[in-house]
């Protein structure tokens, strides 16, 4: 049976250079990252090229993505959050595109790698932390001291708040990474059943209809998950950014 892990392997395409002793290579993962960037750029710039009053389908997709993300940012952070709109939009479109490209057979899913998800989540975490401190100064730490809590349990609540704040990048990244990884492994396992069953002869081919149907259904589910995980990542980013802007509970 086909190895379900094989799709996550990283191959070097060429070496870019070295940092210390570590080789920095341009890999298949890099290619898919730049591919996602190219797709997003093409969609947004190509989509707005016509500048039509009545948009074409292509232009409509660009405008819908714009409005979807801008509405998400505006509703969860408010008008002042719009300065983060390019950042949130880049995050959403990058994750969504990488996820969607990953569903195409024989492709590589950038977001199924822990380090990419961690990089995305840490970027959000550091943005929240640094912008929160820059904007509110020490007032940012009011985030950990909720209002209306009796003084005798306040230390406990504060400790819990700090832990929950620090664990945000972990849950934020692992949610995306684990969903993509698990979905793709499941897909590959069921798709592998189809090939190994059909190798068994006529009865096997008949029997492989079931896993094939399952694979089809899972692909549909993965489409949903690809969108949903991008959206969840984005909405959590907005919620965290909202804390940076308004640290008081």
């Amino acid at each position: 049976m086909a190895d379900p892990i094989h799709q996550f392997e990283i191959h070097k395409i060429f070496t870019l250079g070295h940092i210390g002793n570590q080789e920095i290579a341009f890999t298949n993962s890099s290619a898919y990252m730049f591919g996602a960037v190219a797709v997003v750029s093409l969609l947004m710039i190509g989509g707005s090229a016509g500048r039509a009053l009545i948009p074409s389908r292509f232009q409509s997709v660009a405008e819908l993505s714009f409005e979807f993300v801008s509405n998400t940012v505006r509703s969860s952070i408010g008008e002042e959050g719009m300065k983060f709109f390019p950042f949130v939009f880049s995050l959403f479109m990058f994750i969504l595109t990488a996820n969607l490209i990953g569903i195409i057979p024989y492709t590589f899913t950038v977001t199924s790698h822990l380090i990419v998800a961690v990089a995305l989540a840490l970027m959000v975490f550091l943005t929240v932390l640094l912008y929160g401190l820059y904007k509110n100064g020490l007032g940012f730490f009011k985030l950990f001291v909720p209002h209306g809590i009796p003084i005798y349990i306040l230390p406990l609540v504060t400790v819990i708040e700090v832990i929950s704040f620090l664990s945000r990048p972990v849950s934020h990244s692992v949610r995306l990474f684990a969903n993509m990884l698990a979905g793709h492994i499941t897909l590959k396992v069921f798709a592998g059943f189809v090939t190994s069953l059909s190798a068994l002869g006529a009865l096997g081919i008949f029997g492989s209809v079931l896993p094939l149907a399952m694979t089809t259904a899972l692909t549909a589910l993965e489409l949903l998950v690809a969108f949903l995980q991008a959206y969840v990542f984005t909405i959590l980013t907005c919620i965290y950014l909202n804390d940076a802007l308004h640290p008081g509970h």
């Binding site: 190895d3 892990i5 094989h6 996550f8 392997e9 990283i10 191959h11 070097k12 070496t15 870019l16 070295h18 940092i19 210390g20 002793n21 570590q22 080789e23 920095i24 290579a25 341009f26 890999t27 993962s29 890099s30 990252m33 730049f34 996602a36 960037v37 997003v40 750029s41 947004m44 710039i45 989509g47 707005s48 500048r51 039509a52 009053l53 948009p55 232009q59 660009a62 405008e63 714009f66 409005e67 709109f85 390019p86 950042f87 939009f89 880049s90 479109m93 990058f94 199924s112 790698h113 822990l114 380090i115 990419v116 990089a119 970027m123 990474f177 990884l181």
Partner: protein, 189 residues
């Protein structure tokens, strides 16, 4: 790969990880292979930085501009439509006012004409009546004159007739004074 081997030992190790994955030999689970992390992070930093630049400098201003332009066109069109509707409402009102005025004027005119005609008619009628009355009076006078004349004639005829009757009966021509006295007595009776 040969290049990687030519470098330091660490680089050799990094390449080995890539090679191991290439060979399909499961040294470890690919997403946890820490040797690939640096490469991925560098690629991710460049790719995401590029995407952020493209999105913030090019893509979003363009799409935002298209949306804003559309909103402006919609607002302008709606305003114009509202203005035109106001104009048409005003025109309709003006038309209705004009119509009401014209109707009132026509009615006034009709009343005036009717009154004038009535007055003329009355006048003509009065004139006619007057002339008729005059004529009637003249006629009555004529009748009275004629009657008086006739009455005078009757007396002479009666006298003549009485004289003739008396002459025929008695053979004597009566005295004119006696006839007149008899006539007077008879007329009085």
């Amino acid at each position: 790969m040969a290049e990687g081997q030519g470098k330091s030992k660490g680089a050799d190790h990094g390449t080995a990880a890539h090679t191991a994955a290439d060979g399909g030999h499961k040294a470890s689970f690919p997403p946890f292979e820490s040797n690939t992390f640096a490469s991925q992070l560098v690629s991710f930093a460049i790719a995401f930085g590029l995407l952020y630049l493209i999105v913030s400098r090019l893509a979003l201003p363009r799409v935002g501009g298209v949306l804003a332009a559309r909103q402006q066109v919609l607002d302008t069109d709606l305003n114009e439509a509202a203005k035109l509707k106001g104009d048409s409402d005003a025109a309709l009102k003006a038309y209705e006012t004009e119509l009401a005025n014209a109707r009132a004027k026509a009615q006034a005119m009709a009343t005036e004409v009717r009154e004038k005609l009535n007055a003329e008619q009355e006048q003509a009628k009065a004139k006619l009546e007057e002339s008729l009355a005059t004529k009637l009076a003249a006629a009555e006078q004529t009748i009275a004159t004629t009657r008086a004349t006739a009455m005078g004639n009757v007396r002479s005829i009666a006298a003549d007739t009485a004289s003739a009757i008396v002459e025929r009966l008695t053979g004597i021509s009566p005295d004119a004074g006696a006839v007149n006295a008899a006539l007077d007595a008879s007329l009085k009776g």
